[in-house]
Amino acid sequence: MKLFKFLVLLIVSALFFGCAASPKLSPDVTQSLKGSKLAVAYAQTEKRIHYNELVYKVFWNETRTKDVSYNGLWDIDTDLTSYMAPKVCDLGLKAVSIYDVVPEENIKELHESLMAKPREEELVLSDGLRAKLMDEGIDYLLMLRNDHIGVYTQIGLKQGQAHAMMYVQDVRSNEQKYAGFFPCGGNFKVEKNVREIENNNLAGLKDHMKEWLDVSIQKHMPKQLGLVQ
């Protein structure tokens, strides 16, 4: 009976931990954000897909992994940043793509700084990047950072997950105003094998990523930014 109680408590605790909500932006920053111009950026630090499959072997189960690269085949940063900017505008914010206001070299420098440190560390923008952003009247940088795309598969289940973090950085003070997990993912619609997402120059992966990003911007971003209760 004690063991039963312990197991029930364990499962309930695990469920609560699993549903832990992302933090919210403080109300004063939300107010400031509403009246400001912001640049949006999507940054993928590793251009790879990490496949993970649970394989049933009767007497045991195995997890098998395979990593594939799309480095140089899909400019995911530019593509998803351009995709994001109008979606963020739809939330009632004045947003532009960082690629429209800052030279490529400054964005490259930002990506290199992201690759050099784990995502838990506080974001710090270089003086050069801040100067360019301020010249364009940008007050905040809203950035999604994703380290890789995870694909999880087992019988009847083929899911993708972008392990993304969302940051809001005050450009003038260079202070990180927000950092929180940004859920983005869903089920792949493929016929047989999940690696079909690589076909036709990654057409399946691109479509799914945009669809999930769209859903997450509409569903999660307003809550995280405090735009809705």
Binding site: V55, K57, F59, T63, T65
Partner: protein, 115 residues
């Protein structure tokens, strides 16, 4: 009795699954033509490579393929309790694990293969 056990084991064995994550086709079966085959044809036949590196100097792109998948964990039942334990195995692939390398020029044409 022995036959019955063998039959049960055979049925259970058939129910076991194989991984679906490997390259789309065997690396050894790939027959590409130098100075003709395009990058997209290699990707369509084998899937994407494990690693891609770009040389800015000579504008070449290097694709490195690995064979098979990596066993990253085993989930085993413990006795008759219905509980399981997971054993994690191995680390990331090293450069030595690559089974084939394909080199493309700036026009996305295959110019070199090394196995």
């Amino acid at each position: 009795m022995l036959l019955r056990i063998l039959a049960i084991l055979l049925v259970l064995g058939l129910a076991a699954c194989a991984t679906t994550l490997d390259n789309k086709n065997d690396l050894s079966s790939a027959e590409f033509k130098l100075n003709e085959t395009k990058k997209s044809e290699v990707a369509d036949y084998l899937g994407l490579p494990a690693k891609i590196s770009n040389s800015e100097e000579d504008k070449k792109q290097y694709w490195y393929y690995t064979d098979g998948t990596k066993l990253s964990g085993l989930i085993l039942p413990i006795g008759a309790t219905g509980m399981t334990t997971t054993i994690h195995t191995g680390g990331p692939a090293s450069d030595l694990d690559y089974a084939a390398m394909f080199v493309f020029d700036e026009n996305d044409t295959l110019i070199e293969v090394s196995r």
